[in-house]
Symmetry: D2
């Protein structure tokens, strides 16, 4: 039987097309950038693919910093489009060394484009963005920064550092929806994109989005998902109320408390503080143990630990303190559950000292 209530139950009206522009402006305000801000109705990985596909062409030369599979994919996308790409890869599970970037830039032929991921949620590392951008700016190189796992967790000075394209997603530190993403694009980046042959009429076309900007930002192409855009509005309400600086400080505290707790536990974080993401802390699993068993034990306590993803030499476990989890309660539970799981597996862990340390970190 047809239920006359079902539309109301569905409950979400069309997102008013005239509000997309305001959404973009609010994201621009949070990013504090004067560049064009574009909305994309797709997860941030698609936005990254669109950047690569929109930039790539024969004759374009790029240096691609690889610290996870996101970087590998980005290089692959550029190459498919005919670009000449040199990868400069970090040691597995570690950030790139600034010297490696400098050396790669100096060694090879001229480079038009440099791409780097700011923070990696796969391993919990943070790349030295400020210094990398300085190297690029000194050489007049157009830059692409994947800031999906850093926005809201670390300062991101797009205009100050001269980031030509920054890609963000609301679903990590901002605690928002996962089906939309955003990009900032500088005038210089547009010049590189808007050439003959750039893709059009495609989910991967930034040029389509430029048409949207130039046309007065009236509606997005395709059928927009009201769920995602209303949720993005609610997320921006919240972030503006808390203040982006407070959001970042909250993640910094969660990261340092987690780190202190792990040290007290006897485990120790995988990378030193200066090289670590504020959203996720990774820790090496002792050789005698399996990550899967620790994850299972922690889950029985209601705590989700996850395996590190990618190429780290040691098997990493990740403690998640992102978005709403950047708070005392989850931070303490993460470390205590990890400690309990270690002990259950016959490995010593000083849960007591860890709890002390985390409480102290939050009590200051």
């Amino acid at each position: 039987m047809f239920d006359p209530h079902w539309n109301a139950l569905h409950g979400v009206p069309a997102y008013p097309v005239e509000r997309y522009g305001a959404l973009a402006d609010r994201i621009g305000g949070i990013l504090m950038s004067r560049n064009d801000v574009l909305l994309m109705q797709a997860e941030a990985t698609v936005a990254l693919e669109a950047v690569a596909v929109s930039l790539a062409r024969p004759g374009l030369s790029a240096l691609n910093v690889v610290t996870s599979s996101y970087g590998s994919w980005f290089g692959q996308w550029l190459r498919r489009g005919g670009a000449a790409v040199r990868d400069v890869a970090a040691q597995p599970g570690l950030p790139i060394e600034i010297e490696a970037v400098a050396k790669a830039l100096d060694a090879g032929p001229h480079v038009d484009l440099l791409a780097v991921v700011h923070a990696e949620s796969a391993s919990g590392i943070l790349n030295p963005l400020t210094r990398i951008m300085a190297l690029a700016q000194a050489r007049g190189i157009v830059t692409v920064v994947d800031a999906v796992a850093s926005v809201g967790g670390h300062p991101l000075d797009i205009d100050g550092l001269g980031i030509d394209i920054a890609v963000i997603g609301p679903q990590k530190a901002l605690g928002g929806p996962a089906g939309v993403s955003a990009l900032s694009v500088s005038r210089r980046a547009w010049q590189l994109i808007l050439r003959d042959g750039t893709p059009r009429d495609s989910i991967l076309s930034l040029a389509d989005l430029k048409t949207w900007v130039d046309g007065g930002r009236r509606g997005l192409p395709g059928t927009p998902s009201p769920l995602e855009f209303f949720a993005l509005e609610a997320t921006l309400d919240r972030i503006e109320a808390e203040g982006l600086e407070s959001v970042i400080a909250r993640h910094a505290l969660a990261a340092s408390a987690t780190r202190t707790g792990l040290t007290a536990l006897g485990a120790g974080a995988w990378v030193p503080s200066a090289k670590a993401s504020n959203l996720v802390t990774s820790v090496a699993v002792p050789e005698s143990l399996t990550p899967a068993a620790l994850i299972t034990t922690a889950r029985r306590l209601g705590v989700e630990l996850t395996e590190g993803v990618g190429t780290a030499p040691a098997r990493l476990l990740r403690l998640n303190h992102t978005g709403p989890r950047a708070a005392f309660q989850p931070v303490l539970a993460n470390v205590a559950a990890f400690g309990a799981a270690l002990r259950q597996a016959g490995h010593p862990s000083d849960i007591a000292a860890a709890a002390e340390a985390i409480s102290a970190a939050y009590s200051r």
Copy 2:
């Protein structure tokens, strides 16, 4: 301007009137009682007032066990209706002693009605329900049990113990909405209620609800709130999926882990385990400290402690492990935050040992 979307935004259709009966049956299933189950669109306190008002009359004699202001109110409501009420009160902040009830029953004249609160969220105590009901049953006394703060946290054998009227609310251990409540009423209780002069056409009339039952449970009187009834449905879905026994076991574990943690901290729970509620654990604040300061410190850690309410001789703080909070993460955070607050106030507290103890309790 009128927004044609606003109804959709509101998003909640009328609750289908023909589903109230099924709701009552599902609550009956959870309570495992064959008595009539009544729904009431009001918080549980109103349901309790309705019970008293519907039962009270000149000539009715009642023994009223008082372990918090809920008990005091119940006695007051009975008296207003003309009943002769004897209160038997526990020591402040403690459960009633079974001997006191027995003595009161034996001492005085015949009693028609006995009323008792099963668990008190104001002080975190649990009354000896099984033994009190046995005393009442041996004497043929009609019984009223306020199970609002015990259902889902403790076993409640309505038919086995012979509870004539039990009042429950979904908003505590069941984690549901706060604007509806439910009652089970035995045939014997109906005989007491359905006399000449019982209130009718009133929010406080159980007789009105009997008319609802006898009329085939087609709709509730008045204008039902769809928000509350849809939320109640969702709550029952969840509870049925988890299983009431698991819900109770989860609260029992949360209570014992909290208690063990407090002992390790050096604080100690206010009442011994056998006399304590599984939803809330209360702890006495050291004389030199003020509850308000401890609450403020804990709130900075994102943890809500609350003051005990009522007549306890010591000032009590309550650690809440009710509903979704009956889990490792909140239990650990509650105790650690209490410990941190103590220490901040210059009072020693062994957070380390507490975290150890709680992790151990949950790792078993």
Copy 3:
């Protein structure tokens, strides 16, 4: 299995206690009254019962205007509290005649209180409020107005007319939640209420709410339902954005278009325009037909007609154009479905002319 997500799924946090005061102020702003505004966590019928119970006492003399069962209940509640109540009843399904009220006031002994329902949703009538209030004010009588089915549909000048107590609910013209209600209470009404023996510690106690006002409006007694209060906030956002005058104008248009449509159909509204509610239009069912059959036919078209409730001599059907239904689409569908149902039952109805008339009314 316990699902760690269930709290998030439930998704509604506690309503911040410090925002109740602001809610009351916003309702006061919509009502444009300087009287105290009280919130009540119960449907509006309970608020009315509370008014009667809080006012009633031996020695109080009241004139009670009865135009539906709400009025009958109000009188009954006053009488139960010991008041001397004279009912002045309208003819079934019709508003009260102002002369009847005047005569009743002049004929009998002095009256302390006058109670009247502004608009009746049971029959779709509107009582002559302005003139009734003038009679009361000339005699210094305290007045109670049930404005549940008129607020948002008709002007309601509480301070100008001297309404001492007005009861409203957000669930009708305002399109809001059904589990909360509000009252405005004048200083003079408080003097009548706050005497010795007024009920306290009861859902039906206005004195309890006065304590709330005088105590700085910090939290409501009992366990507030976050669902209701967040929904009330959202409702007020919407009403403030549309403007109460626009809301009223929208209901007035819906009522006059419905009425014009019914006339064109050949049916005719039950009461003349000046005596009719703007929320609901009632129409007499021809003698040869049964309301139930018409309702069933209309429901097959997805349109809900309902039977008039109460004591009307003819059987009434009600066309609902309340809240989100005060718009062209539902108004047209209501009348067309009623016409189709008449015809299905073998009764002539000029659907064509009705559609014309309604389209014309909305096209002006």
Copy 4:
């Protein structure tokens, strides 16, 4: 200030990864197809682009039926990938003639692939799918059908007609979310897709989704949007409860009632019934009038008419009776508002007769 409630306010937990498989199975059940069903976290247009990009290669020869810009895009995407594409285009705003397809197939060289849109929401037309598929099947041609605007509105016999790839979206007749889509892919289509050089690691890669199927459908790549997937679940609950046949019948009735109403109005639908979509009815705007003015008038009545999109010779207006709008109330309001707008613009329109006709259509 950081609000500890914000996660709860956000209110949507991660979508359980192990439930994606069940979602795909339920869509397969609705489509009644034994082919692989793939989920895609993107609007349906992206799914179509992915189909073209995954199939296209040098050496592939395709016949592409063009009845709107979706068809044009599809051809363009194939050509970009190196395929040899012949377009066979319908007259503007009309369905393709079956003879044109037959002729194109017979005239040219062998064709590997045939692509066609089932129904067009831009103009409200329906292509002769059964006969086109018969032509393709007789020639062993792999077929792609864009069923986004037909699923739920028209029968779609994927296995019976031999549709190799069907693309659907839940946001039209099914009334679901707009940010997910689904495809069914036959074994024969997979053989064409899974060649060397098919795109991988891309939002546009069907091969990636095949890996998902073959790997046991454990999670989708990337970061799934819980909003979309929970909404899709709710949509499937609803569609399964109503039954797909009822959903289709409801759209068929809405289309025929709209058509009858327009004829009575004196306007007439743009295409004859057999060539029309059941989701949208388009009507030609009289030469002397502008669509924009009609749209504005209708909007004042709360009814959204939209301009036809594309290459129709006449300017078309569309009446939307899709999903929840496939019901008496919106159908009647659409036609009446269109009639009122015509008249406002000085053009005669028999609203009366239209309302009669629609009421009669729904009363049968």
